[in-house]
Amino acid sequence: MTHVSDGDLVRLLDRELDVAEQMELEGHVDSCEDCAGRYLELRRKIATVGAAIRRGDFTFSTPNLRTWGLRAAAVLVVLTAMGVTVRPVRAWIVEQTRALWVVVVGEQEEAATSGDAIDESGDPTAAVSFVPAGDVFVLELSTRQVSGRLIVETVVGGTASATVFGGSEDERLIVLPTGLRIVNASTAEADYTVELPASLARLLVVIGNDDTLRYEPAGAVDRWEIDLAAVAAGR
């Protein structure tokens, strides 16, 4: 048999031959000093080339998701523990979570809570409760309605709430960083009750394209009632 070509030696090393070829070439290499030497030389060369390629590799900073996940979980555990035990930390977490949510989502829609027991015209169709971020509160209504009332009351405590009565369930209450947006339609007939902390310095009410209404709460018992139909009629 003639000597094994370099190409076939590579195929032999890479196990790319069929069984018969493999046996034949191995038999030859075992018995041929020249081919055995070339075989060993090729194996050494391949190892050198591979090592040289790998030694020059660039390092890519691929994030290790598992490590990052564990770190994030550890931070969460610490924050949760502090949030439970340290009141200022709890307030800070609430505030940061709210801000982060607004950044991510754009606007914040609070999960509906059970409607407060304000006995208006039947069961509430939507409700939210939340903690206002600042001392100026902006209450927006998308538009004027066929009929309905907007009642704003100040209450003792730091929590605010909003409830929709008699709505078609299309009305939505969206908590914003600066206040509350009520998404309604001009054909709606819903009533809205909004309770705000008496500690607010100012309340601004914007209904559709109307001029902004400004209120300055004077105490815990303030109450403003706005006839949405009257607003529609050109207050």
Partner: protein
């Protein structure tokens, strides 16, 4: 599993392969990004061909990009507009030894033909001769010869570099 998710499994190997091929890690990231975009638009007809498809498409893209860059550099030089190429900012984590090793590997690879380079680097990534043959457009049997030539050239160049 969706094709995109399957393809992402090969991403690291693909970036490494193209970075070795081009000697440019930024270009490698670009090329791989583009390859994944191409995958969305025109995926391979069979899922089992995915890995080979990714490496082949990325190789062709890398070759094209290098040709364009080379041609642009030539044109700029002819026009006398050649600006000094800024060295990348020194990376404190990268030691001199690695930089030297990288230069030597890049020079040695540069001495190979496109086919030889592709075959050599695809072999390093564990491709079979059949897959390499498909990628470079040659028969499975002749891949051994192609590789043998590539090993010879690369090793000779490396030896020369080390001697100097």
């Amino acid at each position: 599993m969706r094709l995109g998710a399957l393809a992402r499994r090969h991403r690291t190997a693909l970036v490494r392969y193209i970075a070795r091929y081009t000697g440019d890690p930024d270009l490698a990231e670009d090329v791989v990004q583009e390859t994944f975009l191409r995958l969305r638009v025109r995926p391979p007809s069979h899922q089992e061909e995915l890995k080979g498809w990714l490496f082949t498409v990325a190789t062709h893209m890398a070759v094209d990009r290098m040709r364009v860059a080379r041609r642009r550099a030539e044109l700029e030089q002819e026009a006398g507009h050649l600006l000094p190429v800024a060295e990348p900012p020194p990376d404190p984590a990268t030691n001199l030894e690695r930089q030297e090793a990288r230069r030597m590997a890049r020079d040695a690879l540069a001495g190979l033909s496109e086919k030889e380079r592709t075959a050599l680097l695809m072999r390093e990534e564990g491709f079979t001769h059949r897959e390499i043959g498909t990628a470079v457009g040659t028969t499975t049997k002749s891949v051994g010869t192609l590789l043998a030539r590539a090993f010879d050239k690369f090793a000779a160049r490396l030896q020369m570099e080390e001697a100097s």
